[in-house]
Each structure stands twice: as C-alpha cells, then as structure tokens.
C-alpha cells in the first residue's frame, strides 16, 4: 500500500494525514505508524490511506483494496475507535 493510488470513481476523500489531529489525543503522531491491512496484507503509513470524513465519524480505507481499516466515531463525551481491518500497527518509539 502506498500513497499514490488513483481512485477516479470518487474525489470525495482526503488521506490519513487529516486524521492526525483526531488521533493525537491517543499517542503522538499515530498517522506515521505502519498499518497492515487485514484484507489484502499490504502495509503503509496510516497517513497514506484514504480518509472519508462525510460518513458518520471518520472512516479510513486501504489504498490498495479499499477495505475499511478503521473508524473513529464520536458518541458525546466518548469516542469509539474500531480497528476491524487492521492486522497490526507498527509504532515508532518516541
């Protein structure tokens, strides 16, 4: 998985860079973490995946196979982070 994929069917997405603010509250810059897609096995930084923000919450999709990697939804004073499509995250030590 890399950041260069073309997705001509829709322009209605950003990329994982824009997730940095929302994830910053968990750990410093999680968007640089290497994410392996549970669907197709490709790996790349979360920043290079495709971010859909017009869904309820934020949905991050694999740029190789478009499977959903993770979702972050706001539920009032709590937030739910689901990681169904993530096999693993490799996070640099600070």
């Amino acid at each position: 998985m890399d950041s260069t994929g073309q997705h001509p069917l829709d322009q209605d997405h950003l990329d994982g860079n824009a997730l940095a603010g929302a994830l910053d509250q968990f750990v410093s810059d999680l968007t640089s973490a290497e994410c392996m897609c549970a669907g197709c096995g490709s790996s790349g930084p979360l920043a290079a995946a495709l971010l859909y923000t017009k869904a309820p919450g934020m949905v991050l999709r694999c740029p190789t196979c478009t499977a959903v990697l993770l979702c972050l939804t706001d539920q009032g004073d709590r937030q739910v982070l689901t990681l169904d499509g993530v096999r693993h995250l490799v996070i640099d030590k600070p």
Binding site: D2, S3, G5, Q11, D12, A47, A48
Partner: protein, 238 residues
C-alpha cells in the same frame, strides 16, 4: 505535545490574492513543529454547531506564532469566514500542529521535488522556507500549478528564492490564463515529467492539492518510474 484544543489569537492578516489570506496566529505558549504539518481549526456557531477544518502551516514564527494561508471556496462553510470575516484580535480554537508523515526537514537525503496544485502550495512553502533558512545544499524544485497569475500565493518571496538560491528552481504552470509568452492549459503528464527531477536522481517527492490533482500527478510519476515509497501526498479534498 499538546493533546487538546487551545485558543489562539489572530495577530496579523495579509492578503495573498483576491480570495486568499494569510492569518498569523499567536498561541498562549511556545509553538513549534516541522514543515508539512497542519493544524485543525474548530469553529462554533451561536447555536452550538461545530465545524472542524485542517489548514497547513505556511510559516513558523517562533516562539509563539505560526501562519496559515486560506483560500476561499465558493459555497464553503468555513473558508469564506476565515478569509473575509475574521479580524486581528479574534480568537480561534486550534488543535496541533499535527502530522508526522507529510513532513520534510533539511536532513532528509535526496533532491527535493515539490508539486502543488492551488492552495496545496502552503505546506510546500513551509518546506521551501526551511530549505532556504537552512541554506540547504540539497537541490530543490517547485512545480506550482495555478489558474492564473492572480492566483499565485507568496509571489514576491517565490521570485526572490528562485532568483537568489542557486539550489532552487521554481516553475509555475498556468491552467486558465498566463502571462504573455507562457503556455496555458491543464497540467499534463508531459509537463510534470519535464519539470521534475528524473527517477534516476531519486528525488523525494511531495504532492499537495485537491484530491483529483494529487492522485493524477502521483500516478504519472509512478508511471515515469519513480518509486512510490519516495512519493508523499496530501489530499485537501474537493
């Protein structure tokens, strides 16, 4: 690292074009970061409705300030307010600076290739400013695609960097209207190839702009034989 929203004050504003404005924000404490990062702004309406938008940092002004440049979009919810309404002394909720992947610092090896579509020039300008301040010996090129000469951000400063820094080449491509003697038209694969370092130079490449622009240019560069691992992208939406 700050983990939550804080209040910053608009300390200066400067028009870049008829529809874009640079905002200088002053933070309560020290603020530092690296070129390529962005902040999130949160606006709250009187009825409690909130909107969050991301804006790249254009310049770092230590110790407590940074600059953003915002372009107004027709029918935009937030950008017309930031460009036309916000005034010096007003306060904004800010989160960040954040982001660690779409970043460049002068210690990164390899020629630096920057490619901007419209307001996508903002984080690339932060990189170019850092390149200049560090007097980096790394060769750098900026390919900047704009609609017309009136849409160019940071015009004077880009001219100075292009003329005075022998390591930097600035190439502006005009899509709708060009100065006399310059070609006009949508950015093509050939034009991108011609303006960029060739794959054998192994440049590190940063592409920023609307989602369609970024994906088209990235695909051309991969076609040309650039290694996808050396290409970093930031999609602004659209």
């Amino acid at each position: 690292m700050r983990r939550s929203w804080q209040v910053a004050e608009v300390s200066a504003v400067r028009a870049e074009t008829a529809r874009a404005r640079t905002l200088r924000l002053r933070f309560p404490d020290m603020v530092a970061g690296v070129p390529g990062q962005h902040v999130d702004l949160r606006l709250t309406a009187d009825d409690g409705y909130q909107a969050v938008r991301s804006y790249s940092v254009a310049a770092w002004v230590p110790p407590r300030e940074l600059e953003l440049t915002v372009e107004e979009l027709d029918d935009g919810e937030v950008s017309p307010f930031l460009v036309d309404v916000l005034a010096v002394g007003d306060q904004l909720e800010v989160r960040g600076p954040v982001g660690g992947w779409f970043t460049w610092t002068p210690d990164r090896a390899g020629p630096l290739q920057l490619i901007a579509g419209g307001s996508g020039v903002v984080p690339l300008m932060a990189m170019l400013r850092s390149h200049s301040e560090a007097r980096s010996a790394v060769p750098a090129r900026l390919l900047y695609s704009v609609r017309s000469p009136d849409h160019v951000f940071y015009r004077g400063e880009l001219d100075v960097i292009g003329q005075e820094d022998p390591q930097v080449v600035i190439d502006i491509a005009y899509s709708r209207e060009a100065p006399d003697g310059r070609p006009v038209g949508r950015l093509t694969h050939e034009a991108v190839t011609a303006s960029c370092f060739p794959p054998e130079d192994e440049p590190v490449i940063y592409i920023c702009g609307s989602t369609g622009f970024v994906e088209a240019v990235a695909a051309w560069l991969v076609d040309d034989g650039h290694d996808a691992d050396r290409i970093r992208t930031e999609r602004y939406g659209g």
